[in-house]
Amino acid sequence: MRPALTFLGDELKTKIIDEARHLLCTLGVEIHNPRVLALLGDHGADVDLSKQHVRLTDGLIDQALATVPSGFKLYDAIGRQTHDFSGDNVHFTPGSAAIKILDNGRMRKPVTGDYIRYAKLMSGLEHIQAQSTAFITTDVPEEISDSYRLFLSLMYCEKPVVTGAFTIAAFDIMRDLQLAVRGSAEELKAKPLTIFSCCPTSPIKWSDVTSQNVVDCARQGIPVEFISMPLSGFMAPVTLVGSLIQHTAETLSGVVISQAASPGAPVLYGGSPAIFDIRYETTPMGAVETQMIDCAYSEIGKHLGMPTQAYIGMSDAKQLDAQAGFETSMGATLAALSGINSISGPGMLDFESCQSLEKLVVDNEICGLTQRLVRGIEPREDFPSTPIFEELLRDKHLLIADHTRRHLKEEIFFPGPVVDRANSSRWHEEGGITLHERAAKEVERLVAACAPSALSDDVTTELDRLMTAEARRFGMQSLPGRG
């Protein structure tokens, strides 16, 4: 049986959803984008253009919920299926869009070489199924810092990409890069390669950029993950239920925009809510209440019939230390038990602002452990049990029993070398190396072992041409060296 965690009963879920719908139909939503307002107006919503405001209707919400898909699949750069976002399937992806990386215990600004190492590393981390555009590099003009990450990701790692545009203009190049990989708009629609994060602005607002991104993605068939971020006690009610009502309203409004733009457009019911730590003026992602809100809204999303996502399974620590480990594994475990379909977080530190390659290697094991956890306990050849116990009593061990050999791999997960399971004498003899040293060694090994992407030369040349042209628009004649 798959173990499952639930926070909300049916009655509370329904109450929260009803309340959120009521907010959308009475208080309404502020949308700073006339095209999106007009679109909703065409679908029967009550629009006030001068106030950049719209009141939704129950009919419009029901219509959106009727067309939104209950799942979708994702494909890697080569076109192989890697993800099935449906049911309680769990997949991991690194936390995205950091502005710093941790390098030997020091935070610094990332450059192209760091990103290439990251992408190569991601190829080798088997329990993290998608890459993300995990951090920006500072050796290109800021205006292309969002699209350049996607370019490097596509060049060096075949896994599908969780990403997002920081501006309306960046969408075009980020779409064109994907079209270059897939060959045509139809092929991209048939085999989605990326997921775009789009954030409503708390409380119950949409910016020009992100609402336009939702529409553009929907029309192109690019899956969107809605990232609503109520901050409990600050930009949202302090009660977890109050924050959930706000999250539901913000996310539902996104679903309505996407489905109005293109019925059937794939979405993840996602988010990155947090409590607000009044002592430090920060938004802790490792707080237990943050993680509880994540798991609870996933229940609401599933109740509404959508696959789900959350920024959970990361830490606010500044180093790869015990706090980094416990916050990340607590989040990842809760998320997996809740059946969140796309779990964003691995590698991330410092309130979503710092990525660490060493932490990614450690978190890869956390992801492996939790994926084992949710496979649960299943009877295999266990009944009747007499034969296996007869064998044990006879041979004094079961190390090479047929039963063991048949079931070892499916029953027991063996983590990689960063997880220390040696006895202390062996640990000392092998140098007594710390977790951080083991992780750094593993990063080097996996980066070196990475095979070049199987994308054809034609495609990589075209990617390079597109990105170089984009860089030139912002004054950079040639892209940073990648040798």
């Binding site: 502005i99 800021e142 205006e143 930009m235 009044i278 002592r279 003026e281």
Partner: protein, 212 residues
Amino acid sequence: MDILQEIGASLRKGDDNRVAELTRQAIDAGMGVGAILDDGLIGGMNVVGDLFRRHEIFLPEVLLAARAMQKGIDLLKPLMIEEGIPAVGKVVIGTAQGDLHDIGKNLVGIMLKGAGIEVIDLGNDVSAERFVDTAVEAGAPVIGISALLTTTMSSMKGVVDLLRERGLNGKIRTIIGGAPVSKDFADEIGADAYGYDAANAVDQVKALLGVA
């Protein structure tokens, strides 16, 4: 406890009605506006600021104190104008062009107000021209800019450059903040100061204004 000390104590409790009542009493008792302001309201807020920095009280308590202080200031304002006593200082704040992250900027604004500084908040997505024009019109010697996105950081430089272009550098100073911003970045673009959180922003702005 004298009235001014009591104003400080009531600020710490966030008791806005009591602060207003005491300020009125102090005015009626003929205490100087300068003394009520410096030794009562601002002095009290300085203590609140210290407690906050030492993590002995938290943000909501500071906000309550700031709100109470505003009630006192509102009563003093007409007298200040009459007697020609300037406000502690004036700051124009907003988020960089293209940036909608305004939570940090809002906190900075609230804390500045709490320190008795007049704040002109231009909201978010503010162009360099608007920052500079507003500061010139309002006679504000400081512009505070907040950016949370790497794509909007560069527009902070636009404000610094525009001030230079108009020969206003040195006369109007700039302070920047936000998660991707650092002291180094401030130096790089020629901004005058950087603040890492709201309390630090108050210290830095006070230093720019030349007030203790």
